[in-house]
């Protein structure tokens, strides 16, 4: 504890430094005066007495310093000195300071901004207990190329019964529910869960309670509210637990409210429970999470689950060919973002390195001007270490200034990012989306910025410091007032920096170029329908309540027909239709099996798979999907008439090669329904995304195959906001309790589909542009420095008869050569690094030759332009002026 008290005393002294110095001075003065007094009393003259007192006392200044140093703050005071001196130097050359700070701010700001994104998305822990032991369990079928599909309730029950690798399994189903009686009818995002919900995730409800395990025994109409929904619809009512609400026409009792952070895992409005009977019945696309037992590895659990899957496949023939896929929940959340973010992290790292190289170059140029100062300091006995420290203090201060400006840039860019980064990124082929949290400046990001700034300060400060210390004191002092140079070593350092910069910039621009090409490809894809002026929205008929008139399929079909008639009458609507799922919307999935009747090619028991779509007759016309052969549906294709289907050309090509499919009959297995005749063929549609080829699709007339949930598609040239009120009224004139949801134009849907790529492309483009601009500045700086240094030499050359073109060649050569070497190095590095991009590029090759050639030419042009300005200055050198300067 003694050292602690000692430290406290030292600190107190540091606080009262000035007081300390005056105290010491007063004390010493008193001593000297008393001694002088004594000598005078002993008979000396005052002058002699003073001299004697001083002699006896010793060197006052040195003693003061010794007393001061005794407190151990010498290093700190030197640091303050260095920083003050550095600040003075920076203030003296505001142009240099501004350029350096701006360069660093761009580099550091870009890094902080991307770190904010990484922090918000990849580094946030799951809002659950033992989140690192949670795994998602999917079913797969490699024959059907289904990599991940949801299991059925029966799968869940059997897994839960047989598996030993898990503490617990949790089953859920995403859905929507109709809430009435709270103002406008609303379709809310719902989650139906097994009653171990609260226990499984370790939920501490914000209010009330979660479900109890024993509540699985019978059906309970209990509801837990999402935090956001509770705020929005219930005004954060603290006494909401126990209140009633009407969901899908049934009365529910609110029992609790989820904690706010739970939305990061499930952004839902209402959670309701499964009972055990219900679980046995459900076979739609469900979700299952498992919590691994402590010490059980993922591979172990996967092995066990595959054994169980094989057992199930023999017991239930429909499950033949199915296996299971286990993926940690934490990995699932970020797997669609990780590749893009890694690429962006590398990109901003490059930008930072380029800014460092640029600032190092600037400081190197400046250090030449200060060589004399350094020489004098060394000659006066300054230690080299002390000088390096001085350099580092200066560069660190620059870096911290840059870092502060960068943090401000990042702060501002988070607002921008929040605008551009979609909050939900659709996951192709999964009828799902990744929810992105809001991006904000975190404490961690501030810490990272400071660390980055300090590191950059050291990186770009050390190079010029070492360079300038290599100077020969004698030579520098002898050379007099002008004609300094940093010598060949300095030139080599600066050329190396330019080479590195050009190479890094090249890699970045290549990356951006590839992304641009990829994005163009994406927008170039013909989706198979005409996407302009299409508005879509979804309607789900509530069927839960026993009293619901919509339980009868015929009723459902009739209701949608009435909705359609009412909507078609709205002015400004050119065409309208209902479809089970709108292309590209990722709203839902419907796939199924079929066999072609009397087709000998198929082994007994085998079947084919396709996407199933239920549509109203006007759908193809509304979407502008071309009819290739046969006929489309009509109002007459109802339940009283022969069953018909229309297939798309993908299915026709794949399953009816060299045949005319029209008139053939399809059979859906495991149903007793009559077979269906193919009456028409339409064009293929990109249904899940532009990356995927159109999939085999069978269209059913919705009158023969009614659905509870349908999407309305409207073709109208009016803006959505203008027609929406009339559409709502048209629907409500049929049923006033019917909510409309997921109202989106096709443009919005498409921009959501390409949002991940667009974001990567935009950010990479910005970083590549930054890199290019910084590299150009770097090349310009080096070349123009060379010109100013060699003005005299150029003057002599011109006086001796050199042509202006010779001079410009000389300058272009010295500036463009390192840039050229850099481009070559960049090609090599890009070949190695663009592989990182390949997961984002899909159709485009990571070594696309056209992109490489174009970017190489672009970078060379930029380098030449950057050299051209100083070269022109060199050509204009007047030999008379240049020589007179001597």
């Amino acid at each position: 504890m003694d050292w602690l008290r000692e430290l406290a005393r030292r600190l107190r002294m540091l606080m009262h430094r000035r007081q300390f110095d005056t105290d010491l001075e007063e004390e010493m003065r008193l001593h000297l005066e008393l001694r002088q007094q004594e000598q005078i009393e002993a008979g000396m003259t005052p002058d002699n007495a003073q001299a004697a007192a001083r002699r006896g006392f010793g060197n006052v200044t040195s003693l003061k310093e010794k007393s001061h140093i005794a407190w151990g703050w010498g290093w700190f005071e030197q640091l303050v000195q260095d920083m003050r001196y550095g600040l003075r130097m920076l203030r003296k050359s505001p142009g240099f300071t501004a350029v350096a700070v701006l360069t660093l701010a761009l580099g550091i700001g870009a890094n902080t901004a991307i770190f904010n994104v990484v922090h918000a998305t990849l580094l946030q822990p799951l809002p659950t207990r033992q989140g690192n032991r949670l795994v998602v369990i999917w079913v797969n079928n490699l024959e059907q190329s289904w990599s991940r599909i949801g299991p059925t309730g029966q799968d869940y029950l059997e897994w839960k019964e047989e598996s030993k690798s898990f503490d617990d399994l949790f089953l859920f189903e995403h859905g929507t529910g109709t809430v009435t009686g709270l103002g406008e009818p609303e379709q809310v995002a719902g989650l139906r869960v097994t009653t171990n919900f609260g226990e499984f995730f370790g939920i501490k409800p914000a209010l009330g309670r979660t479900f109890r395990l024993e509540e699985a025994g019978s059906r309970h109409n209990f509801a837990i509210l999402g935090y956001g929904y509770w705020q929005r619809r219930f005004g954060s009512d603290p006494s909401v637990a126990g209140r009633g609400m009407t969901l899908n026409g049934e009365e529910y009792t609110v029992i609790g409210v989820l904690p706010a952070d739970f939305a990061a895992l499930f952004p839902v409005d209402v959670v309701v429970p499964f009972d055990t009977d219900w679980v046995k019945r459900v076979n739609t696309d469900l979700g299952v999470f498992g919590r691994l037992k402590p010490g059980v590895a993922l591979g172990q659990a996967s092995g066990e689950m595959n054994v169980i899957a094989e057992r199930i496949a023999t017991a239930r023939p429909l499950r033949k060919g199915f296996g299971t896929v286990l993926v940690p929940l934490e990995a699932v959340r970020v797997e669609y973002l990780r590749p893009a973010l890694l690429v962006l992290l590398v990109a901003v790292g490059f930008v930072l390195l380029i800014s460092c190289a640029n600032v190092a170059n600037l400081m190197l140029a400046r250090s030449v001007g200060r060589q004399r100062e350094m020489a004098i300091r060394i000659a006066l006995g300054a230690g080299r270490l002390r000088l390096i420290r001085q350099f580092l203090a200066e560069s660190t201060m620059l870096a911290l200034l840059g870092g502060t400006a960068g943090a401000l840039l990042a702060l501002w860019s988070t607002d921008l990012l929040n605008v551009f980064v979609p909050s939900r990124i659709p996951v192709p082929n999964a009828a799902d989306a990744v929810t992105l949290p809001g991006i904000h400046m975190s404490g961690a990001a501030v810490a990272i910025t400071i660390v980055i700034s300090l590191l950059t300060g050291i990186v770009f400060g050390v190079i010029p410091a070492l360079q300038s210390l290599r100077c020969n004191v004698n030579e520098s002092l002898k050379e007099g007032g002008r004609g300094f140079s940093i010598g060949p070593g300095g030139h080599r350092t600066r050329s190396t920096l330019v080479i590195v910069e050009s190479a890094l910039a090249f890699v970045l621009v290549i990356g951006a170029g590839l992304m641009i090409k990829r994005f163009w490809h994406l927008l170039d894809v013909n989706p198979g329908f005409h996407p302009d002026h299409l508005l879509t929205l979804r309607i789900k008929l509530p069927t839960d309540a026993k009293s619901s008139e919509y339980r009868e399929p015929r009723q459902q079909a009739a209701t949608f027909q009435r909705f359609l008639a009412s909507v078609e009458a709205v002015p400004g609507i050119q065409s309208a239709a209902f479809a089970e799922i709108v292309p590209l919307s990722q709203d839902d999935m419907d796939m199924g099996y079929f066999v072609v009747q009397q087709d000998p090619a198929l082994p007994p028991g085998g079947h084919l798979a396709a996407d199933f779509r239920d549509i109203t007759p006007n759908y193809f016309a509304t979407m502008d999907i071309p009819l290739i052969a046969g006929r489309s549906f009509s109002e007459q294709d109802n339940l009283d008439r022969p069953r018909v289907v229309v297939i798309d050309e993908t299915l026709a090509r794949r399953f009816f090669p060299k045949q005319n499919p029209i008139g053939k009959h399809l059979q859906i297995p495991d149903t007793t329904r009559p077979s269906r005749e193919i009456v028409g063929i339409v064009g293929g549609v990109h249904d899940t995304g532009f990356d995927q080829q159109p999939r085999p699709t069978i269209y059913f007339p919705s009158l023969q195959s009614p659905d509870q949930t349908m999407s309305l598609v409207l073709r109208t040239t009016l803006p959505p906001s203008a027609v929406l009120p009339a559409i709502k009224n048209a629907i409500w004139s049929v049923d006033k309790n019917q909510p409309l949801f997921a109202v989106r134009s096709m443009d919005e849907i498409i921009s959501g589909i390409v949002s991940a790529q667009r974001l990567a492309f935009l950010l990479l483009g910005v970083f590549a542009f930054l890199a290019l601009a910084l590299a150009a500045i770097g090349i310009y700086g080096v070349t123009s420095y060379l010109v100013s240094e060699r003005t005299h030499e150029i003057g002599v050359r011109i006086a001796l008869g050199a042509q202006r073109s010779d001079v410009s060649h000389l300058v272009l050569g010295t500036g463009a050569r390192p840039a050229g070497i850099g481009v070559i190095g960049g090609v090599v590095a890009a070949f190695a690094l663009t592989r990182l991009l390949s997961s984002l590029l899909f159709g485009v090759s990571a070594t696309d030759p056209l992109t490489f050639v174009v970017v190489a030419i672009l970078l060379t042009l930029v380098a030449l332009t950057a050299c051209y300005i100083p070269a022109r200055r060199a050509m204009r050198v007047d030999p008379v002026v240049a020589l007179r300067c001597e």
Binding site: D2, M13, L30, H31, R35, G56, G58, L63
Partner: protein, 109 residues
Amino acid sequence: MHRDEIPPGTLYLLILKTLARSGEMHGYEIANSIQRISDDILQVEEGSLYPALQRMLIKGWVTAKWGTTAGNRRARYYQLTAAGRKQLTVEMSQFERVIGAITRVIEAV
């Protein structure tokens, strides 16, 4: 009059002992006291008292507070702490050990 430099390392001991004997003193008094008691033989380079006193302040051997002299001047008075007293015995025994050893060496026949 010939004066001897004090042996290196004994300045702390002299200051500690002086303060132990007389309680509160300011720098000038300490210097005077050392000289007077040693019959003017031990000469402290008077100024070097002050860095030494600073180091002793850091170590916590002495405390200082401002007061007034008999001549009504402001002066900083130093006073021994408990830690200072302990340090004094340490320095004393160390000193006696060294002196004893030296004496034995030079008196050996």
